[in-house]
């Protein structure tokens, strides 16, 4: 399950790094525009949305709709968990995982997953 894994992304080409950076920027911009209303503050890519209170109980579906429309993925109910969606970097990892699992939507970039790296 995606929720039980932490993805380590190892870019192999400069272009791939550029793609990841763009993805992080896009997600970040969405979070800043929609939840922080332009007040970027000290938001880091690792900050937990739940712990910092960035996303409230009524805001999750906005995020899902954004991810589905922007990255052509389908977020299943089982995947709607903090492990996948609770920070900018977790979202990026989740999208990459989804894209690599779905050949139609996967990018040409090849990223390698290390599997479950939790202690």
């Amino acid at each position: 399950m995606f929720g039980r894994q932490r993805l380590v992304v190892v870019p192999t080409k400069i272009a791939q790094v550029g793609g990841l950076v763009r993805m992080l920027q896009t997600i970040r911009k969405f979070v800043i525009d929609n939840y922080l209303f332009g007040e970027e503050g000290t938001l880091s890519d690792e900050d937990s949305f739940m712990e910092t209170g960035i996303i409230d109980s009524t805001g999750i579906l906005e995020l899902v709709r954004f991810l589905e429309s922007t990255y052509s993925i389908t977020v299943t109910d089982e995947e709607l968990i903090p492990d996948n969606l609770d920070s900018v970097s977790k979202i990026a990892s989740y999208i990459l995982m989804k894209q690599s699992a779905s050949p139609q939507t996967a990018q040409a970039h090849s990223f390698r997953s290390s599997g479950d790296t939790r202690p």
Binding site: D33, F37, G38, E39, D56, S57, T58, I60
Partner: protein, 653 residues
Amino acid sequence: MCGIAGSLQIDDGPVDRERLRQMIGAIRYRGPDDTGIYCQGPVGLAHARLSIIDLAGGHQPMSIAQDALVITFNGEIFNYIELRNELIAKGHRFISSSDTEVLLRLYQEEGERCVERLNGQWAFAIWDAPRQRLFLSRDRFGVRPLYYTRLDGEFLFASEIKALLTCLQVPCEIDLMGLDQLFTFWATIPPRTVFRGINQLPPGCSMVVQDDRITITPYWTLDLTGQTEHGGVTDSQLAEELFELLEDATRIRLRADVPVGAYLSGGIDSTVVAALARKSAGDRIKTFSVTFESSDIDESRFQHEASAFLGTSHASIRCRHEDIVGVFSDVIWHTEQPILRTAPAPLYLLSRLAHDSGFKVVLTGEGADELFGGYDIFKETKIRQFWGRRPASRWRPLLLKRLYPYLPNIQRQSLDYLKHFFHVTPQALSGPFFSHLPRWELTAKTKQFFSVSTQAELAEADAVSSLLRDLPSSYATWSLFAKAEFLESRYLLPGYILSSQGDRVAMAHAVEGRYPFLDHRVATFAARLPASLKMKVLDQKYLLKQAVKGLIPEAIRTRAKQPYRAPDGISFFGGHDEFVGDLLSSQRIKQDGVFDPRATDALVQKFRSGRETSVKDNMALTGILSTTVLLDRFMHGRNALSGPASRERHTPY
């Protein structure tokens, strides 16, 4: 129903009659039938009358005993006939048939404790000349409003804040602590208001002003200490007792010398009240409803079913998005506080319909949800408590999803999210505000739109902790269910439901609301019921539903609770953008200084783009809009305060 105002010169100077005229003039719409002013020595009382009982003889201010006691009174004493007979038996002689005189003579007979004998809804002031003291009181649940302020050497009171603001010495500034409370609870906590230096008398309290002292004394509170199983009494006996109480509470609320109508929402409570009124008063009862374009919030099918079943003459008004925009500014003029939902606007339109139909009095079902376990928050509390006892359970949280079938965000969320947002931990269970913390936390997130300076000023503010000082001494021993009931009844009911959705939008069109469920005999009965009879497992208002079998249509008696909702943020966009464009322009937001212009603009853009918006976004938008209207019409437009409510203002909408 009426408007009252008054002044007491603490420094013994003469009272200013012209000032009283201005004060009462500002709220003349509450009582367009008659006005009266009494000035004598240090005291001045003013009254704007909506004639309902004793049309010819009820002029106010009213005095007895050669002006020894003088009263200005807003409200109704529903048991005035019984009290009158009692007083006559004791030797009192009456010169009118009004409830006002009964109240005055009861005070003469029993003094300040007379309020404990009253069954009604009131805000009044009695000048007790022999004792040189002003006695003021407000009803148990805060149906009728009463505000006051102190100036150097003078005490002022009135039914509405705008009357006090006609005195230029009274400051007209936003109270940020009040705003902080409102953006947490949807209401301020009495005595605070959103106007600096202007207080409200808490519900269930009386006040004495004498010399330079103000003394506030509670005379009633909703005491839920006695919630126990009723040994030896069956559910059906209790249901019968409840029915009789409601029947009598409705019967005495039909006492009026003018026609009485009833609101029908399509839910159980208003249908019960309309049915009991119909039973008692026959076919002279007319019913009124508001309908919506959107099928997910419109209840017209049930409203028609109720009115057909009861055989009432029925009228309804459709509330469209543009109607909400059209009346929004006037609604805030009347609520005198920001609102986080647009729900008062349709009720403003509904009272206009009742008024235009020739009705001055309407019965409604308010109070049933608070007292008989009707709100979803009680169910939510029960489910969270159940889950909290075994936080690892994977199926217990599924009950939350069943509770909110109309909230897609809840439906799709995983256990981890639900656990986080609904505070399901053993520690949370023992907190004093377990039931309401998720709601308050969500609402408080709207404060992210406060400007840097507002946030700095509120750095030490802690709205939730400040409630701790206001709780009854036995509160800690109550069940979580009882605590939730108390928090709803004590704060949201008077501060929002009976105010912004109640008195203020009804009185805007000189319509008086009457609430049989808030009869204190009904409330006391409900307070002693065990929670299991209010909500049997997860069946809301269980005993009430048992009590009204056969009285109302089965489809309504057994239907799932549908919260009253109105279209929020969406109302202000899609063709009606000028209202928001003007009010929430960066320039204006910056100038007012309360909210952050950049964040506000981003919020507006989010709505304007048609992107998905959350409950919090909608509360924030409505809250910022209403605060800005408040600033505009009260602070910036102060010169217009002395006149009647009008659409005249700086910015034409």
